[in-house]
Symmetry: C2
Subunit: 371 residues, 2 copies
């Protein structure tokens, strides 16, 4: 029997979300050309360059972004049994305070309805095992720009009443001041108490100056922000949570880190050493205990490091980042971004079939209670 | 026989350099208190905070920074046979253009004289093997702020005439515009043609905004810039070199990356994927070949990843970063920052005594031609 494969990093822009973006004229927005050309999605302010024609800004949006049938075809092509879908960045972070709650409820209800419909179609009698059908689960979006954290807490509690929701996805700005903001404590508390997984995902990257300013950004396109900015953003955000003692106050918080935890697994030793040597912390006894980490698989050489830092391969989960990083050639049936990932997992745990099965799907099914 | 141990990451501020810093009033500078208190070294602009009393800014400077006898005692205590000393950051980057050449010559001549004196004292007849004595070699400093790259090239050529110099140390700003600046091509060419090793070392970190601005910086002291800013700076700098094709134009360039290459080993797969998907490069055939990498050892979980990315454990070199990260307690005879590193190397290559011997010293002796 082939092992269960669960994709915990796979994005959707539900039709309702696309409609909202179409009505906007500032980032993030969707530009619909007046002729029959391809719509463009502009989500990064660096892409919203007035010197570029609007029908060439950002990236083209095809049906893979919001048509769930395209997602299901992608799953079948790659042998993925179950996908835990999530709204893609920038989620709802940009909404006006009075819009946040209603949009979060609408998007999350849409996600629940999609999962219910697909799962029912795949298995109307609900008699088949998880690896015998294509099923969907979801991470919900949070109304982080709402006037108070109470609104966020109530949505976390409401998500527990939706049968296919398994946690939340969140960017690194939190309520606007980073994830070390003590104003987030009620949110961490609600996530811990409801046993909801927090999928932490980058979006904001690093300031252009970190990459050499606009000249370097223009020269190299999206490579620096995507390849380096995203994982470094995750690394910095989680280190700030660690330094602020979030993992001490909420030891039961379950966090899933995108992209193998940014660069945390690699830098864990150095971070620990610098904390031990920082006089501000030495005065308080030194040291800050580490978080429980779950890491999304991405890359090759870093897999073993991710395992060591996460505290075991049973905390490593497979993810594709679909619909991003599609094949470069239209002739490719399989997505190299996915097959490379499969190969890296098999190579890293060569001969350890239980470990491979865990990373590919068993761990996700256990941690997220998928059935 | 105990294996040869070579420390390729160990810094000095020669007395002449300290004297120059004492004469300055802007970063970098040394403040000598009027009473008999401890001098302070202020090298980061974030440490030059006018709201802090000047005798508490920066860090105290003790004799370990410039007294070579202290370095030799440190080597004996940790069984280090040979140290390849280098000027610490910010090197000579801040000098006025007309001062750069003369200071580079003076500092490099000082380094050569120190190595010659120590090595002669340890082995006057020059009959003993490298592991039977304490010896010093050095990486030179470059006059990067000189009016033209020719001055830098001439100093690289002159360094080859100094018997104990084995290459150069350089920060990430190059001639002021980053390491992807085509104005550096004559420098890369000179390093390649003279077969000099380039030790690439961070200093400038990332903008404060990357870490959440001044509030986060004040809250966590030096942890974020040291633990994350330094390795991320190296990662970004080398990725920019890669994208600019430096390693294509100068395939013989030998680079030693501080701190296990920043986070490059961990991110190598992701960088490659993002380059392949970037339309700017896809149009040109896609892909950029990788550099030859040598990595300085730092940390624990990342060692195996560093080996995989560097292309073999024979490119991994041991380093201490002395005199930084001293023991927290005065009672410690051995420096935990060093012993942790030893333990990580032994753990990563458990039972592979040849590999351990190579990382600890054999690789450095071979690559740097130490004898």
């Amino acid at each position: 029997m082939a092992p269960l494969i669960v994709d915990i990093h796979t994005h959707v822009y539900p039709p309702s979300y696309m409609q909202m973006l179409r009505a906007r004229k500032t980032v993030p927005y969707v530009h619909d050309p007046s002729d029959s050309g391809t719509p463009r999605l502009i989500i990064l302010s660096s892409d919203d360059d007035p010197s570029i024609r609007i029908d060439q800004r950002g990236r083209p949006v095809d049906s893979s972004y919001s048509d769930i049938e395209v997602k299901l075809a992608f799953m079948r092509r790659h042998g993925i049994n179950s996908s835990v879908i999530s709204l893609a960045n920038p989620w709802l972070d940009f909404l006006a305070p009075d819009e946040a709650q209603s949009w979060a409820e609408r998007i999350n209800d849409d996600l629940e309805a999609t999962c219910a419909r697909v799962n029912h179609a795949a298995d109307p009698e609900n008699t088949r095992a998880l690896h015998e059908k294509e099923t969907l689960f979801a991470f919900g979006a949070l109304p982080l720009s709402a006037p108070s954290a109470d609104v966020v807490v109530r949505e976390i509690e409401r998500l527990k009443t939706l049968p296919h929701l398994r946690g939340v996805i969140m960017g690194t700005t939190g309520l606007g001041k980073g994830l070390d903001d003590s104003g987030l404590d009620p949110v961490w508390k609600a996530l811990q108490e409801t046993d909801s997984v927090l999928f932490l995902h980058p979006h904001y990257g690093l300031p252009d100056e970190a990459f050499g300013g606009s000249e370097a950004m223009n020269r190299y396109g999206h490579v620096l922000p995507l390849a380096l900015g995203f994982p470094l953003e995750t690394t910095i955000a989680v280190t700030r949570m660690l330094l602020a003692g979030v993992f001490d106050r909420f030891p039961g918080l379950k966090i899933l880190l995108a992209h193998s935890g940014g660069t945390l697994p690699f830098l864990a030793g150095r971070i620990e050493s610098c904390i031990l040597h920082e006089r501000k912390f030495v005065a308080n006894g030194g040291g800050v205990p580490g978080p429980q980490r779950n890491a999304v698989v991405y890359g090759t050489a870093g897999l073993k490091a991710a395992v060591a830092a996460a505290g075991g391969a049973d905390r490593l989960l497979f993810g594709t980042d679909h619909p991003f990083f599609p094949p470069l050639s239209k002739d490719d049936e399989e997505w190299p971004s996915v097959t490379t990932n499969y190969k890296a997992i098999h190579a890293a745990f060569d001969g350890e079939s239980d470990t491979v099965a865990g990373v590919l799907g068993g761990n996700a099914a256990r941690i997220l209670n998928l059935k």
